[in-house]
């Protein structure tokens, strides 16, 4: 188990380092002179020189790289060009909102997916199966930047149950969480159905049925727990899609999270903030994937033994 933990930690750190380095080289990939791109056509040479020194772009590239790495390790992500304040302050201000949205969306997804998938698997091939699989296919196919406006139209403007946008009013998280959670719910439901169907053919289910356990006990205890394994993996992997989708959902609902900061900063050419947002979201994703593997290992003793 300890060897497994060390290997997991090592791989998380390695991938984070590579991603961090890629994000560093990001600014050097901008076609042309990044300083000229950031300041626009009307900047004076003096301004350009000032910004170049401020960003440290006049130093040799290895020196820039080392000071960047040292900065990131100390939580210093540079200075925002637009807000004129440390990027780390901006990011730590916005991150809780994105986290809240992602967790709420996850909750919505699990609450929707489990009944749907369970129901579909119990009545596989009959009409409830068809209904819930159609619903979940629709869920995968609806783009969240369309579902969002439609939900606003229906529930915020039409019925005025929830606020239209922003994050200040109570229950303002409901519509964004539903928008973001639907696609994940659909994938999870399909996965759970497939996994349950596979498990239901196993010998131990027949044994459980033969010794006279009630159907609820057979399905909920013996089948569901074993069927959860692949679902947990998918859940972890899909969190990445969730974080990517969060960017769009945040823009739709004017939710003050990292995604919106990212899109705004791209439009303002505030590259230090863009770099930081991409770095933080990616590292969060890598960490979540690492944790998923840990949970997976906790659920399945076979994984632990493999090391």
């Amino acid at each position: 188990m300890i060897a497994f933990l060390i290997r997991l930690l090592g791989s998380v750190l390695f991938v984070s380092w590579v991603v961090g380095s890629l994000v560093f080289f990001f600014i050097h990939l901008v076609p042309g002179d990044p300083v000229a791109v950031m300041l626009g056509d009307w900047a004076s040479p003096a301004d350009e020189a000032l910004l170049r020194t401020q960003l440290g772009l006049d130093a040799p590239i290895w020196q820039q790289y080392l000071s960047y790495l040292a900065g990131v390790l100390q939580g210093d992500l540079g200075q925002s060009l637009f807000y004129q304040q440390p990027v780390s302050d901006l990011v730590s201000e916005r991150f809780p909102y994105t986290l809240q949205l992602a967790l709420m969306a996850l909750m919505v997804a699990v609450l929707l997916a489990f009944p749907l998938g369970y129901w579909a698997a119990l009545y596989a091939g009959k009409w409830p199966d068809g209904v819930s699989m159609t619903v979940s296919l629709l869920g995968v196919s609806i783009p969240n930047f369309w579902l969002g406006p439609m939900l606003i139209l229906g529930f915020a403007i039409g019925l005025s149950w929830f606020p239209v946008s922003g994050a200040t009013q109570p229950f303002s998280w409901v519509l964004p969480a539903i928008t973001l959670g639907t696609a994940l719910a659909a994938i999870l439901a399909r996965m759970l159905r497939a996994s349950l169907l596979e498990v239901l053919h196993e010998d131990y289910i027949r044994t459980a049925q033969a010794k006279g356990l009630s159907p609820t006990q057979v399905y909920a205890k013996h089948a569901l727990r074993n069927a959860l394994l692949p679902v947990v993996t998918i859940l972890g992997l899909q969190l990445g899609t969730l974080l990517g989708g969060a960017v769009i959902t945040e823009v739709v609902f004017d939710w003050p999270g990292l995604g919106q900061l990212l899109v705004d900063s791209i439009q303002r050419r505030d590259y230090p903030v863009v770099q930081a947002c991409i770095l933080i979201i990616s590292v969060a994703y890598i960490t979540v994937n690492g944790l998923t593997e840990l949970v997976y290992a906790g659920l399945d003793p076979r994984i632990r033994a493999q090391t």
Partner: protein, 276 residues
């Protein structure tokens, strides 16, 4: 009998959707300048005889813009799938076939690419390269090749010790011929299914990037930027968002259904399981 017939008819619907999409993309070629022309007297007007879906915020006919949007999404989807499958398959097959240090490097690179959450890498690339349809294609190819590479590598690994490959090697058939003639045909089917889902993904990602203002720019039309512009007039003219959204959903749904059908057809393992 009638039920069987209706199921068979139902299975044709995805093909019909994709066909209509392709036709719309083709007709998009013949949409004239009126789709770009600003007509202020028809601002947000509802349907009339010339335009069945009404006009947008600059008085441009929505139906014509939808055709142009269909063209954009079709073009982007096809290009993305072609380039990313070519790139991913060749990298994955080489890595799986030759093994050794090449394989170790490729798997690490794949891990790093997978470490970026889905759309985020595309957003980052679009941010560096600036907006434009060719940059969207490039960004989506950079995100998309990984899936094909992983699949091709796994398939190649499971096939490389088959007897026919060993026999070809024993006859000193050059490696490129083994890869093309003896390996590729065997893994084309699962790659085809992956490509079908890839089309759905590319359509949604292109629209997403354009929605964020990082993809196709006005005056060019994309279903994504039509929704983006439409959300501002949601209260007065919801049809600006309805129309492109429903089309987008239908296309993604149709392509996903197609992928599901093909996968079920291919999945030989699943069929005998259901029998016993």
């Amino acid at each position: 009998m009638t039920q069987l017939f209706s199921i068979r008819l139902l299975k044709k619907i995805p093909y019909l959707i994709v066909l209509v999409w392709a036709l719309m993309a083709f007709t998009g070629l013949f949409v004239g300048d009126e789709a770009l022309e600003v007509q202020l007297d028809k601002l947000l007007a509802t349907a009339d005889a010339q335009s069945w879906l009404g006009y947008d915020e600059l008085g441009r006919p929505i139906f014509d813009r939808l055709l142009m949007g269909a063209q954009t999404s079709f073009l982007v989807a096809i290009l993305v799938v072609i380039f990313s499958s070519l790139l991913g398959t060749s990298i994955g097959m080489m890595s799986g076939y030759y093994g050794g240090w090449l394989d170790r490097v490729v798997t690490k690179v794949i891990d790093v690419f997978l470490a970026f959450p889905g759309l985020l890498l595309a957003i980052a690339l679009a941010a560096i390269l600036g907006p434009g349809i060719e940059n969207v294609v490039f960004a989506l190819v950079m995100v998309g090749w990984v899936g094909y590479a992983r699949l091709a590598r796994a398939q190649t690994l499971s096939l490389r010790h088959r007897e026919h490959i060993l026999a070809a090697r024993a006859f000193a058939v050059p490696n490129y011929l083994i890869i093309f003639r003896h390996l590729l045909p065997l893994i084309l089917a699962p790659l085809g299914v992956e490509a079908t889902f890839g089309i759905a993904g590319a359509v949604i990602s292109e629209a997403g990037l354009s929605f964020l203002g990082l993809g196709v720019q006005p005056p060019d039309a994309s279903w994504g930027n039509m929704i983006r512009e439409g959300t501002r007039y949601l209260l007065v003219a919801p049809h600006l968002v309805w129309a492109p959204g429903i089309l987008l959903m239908l296309v993604v749904l149709g392509v996903n259904l197609l992928g599901d059908q093909w996968r079920d057809k291919l999945d030989v393992r699943a069929r005998p399981r259901k029998l016993n």
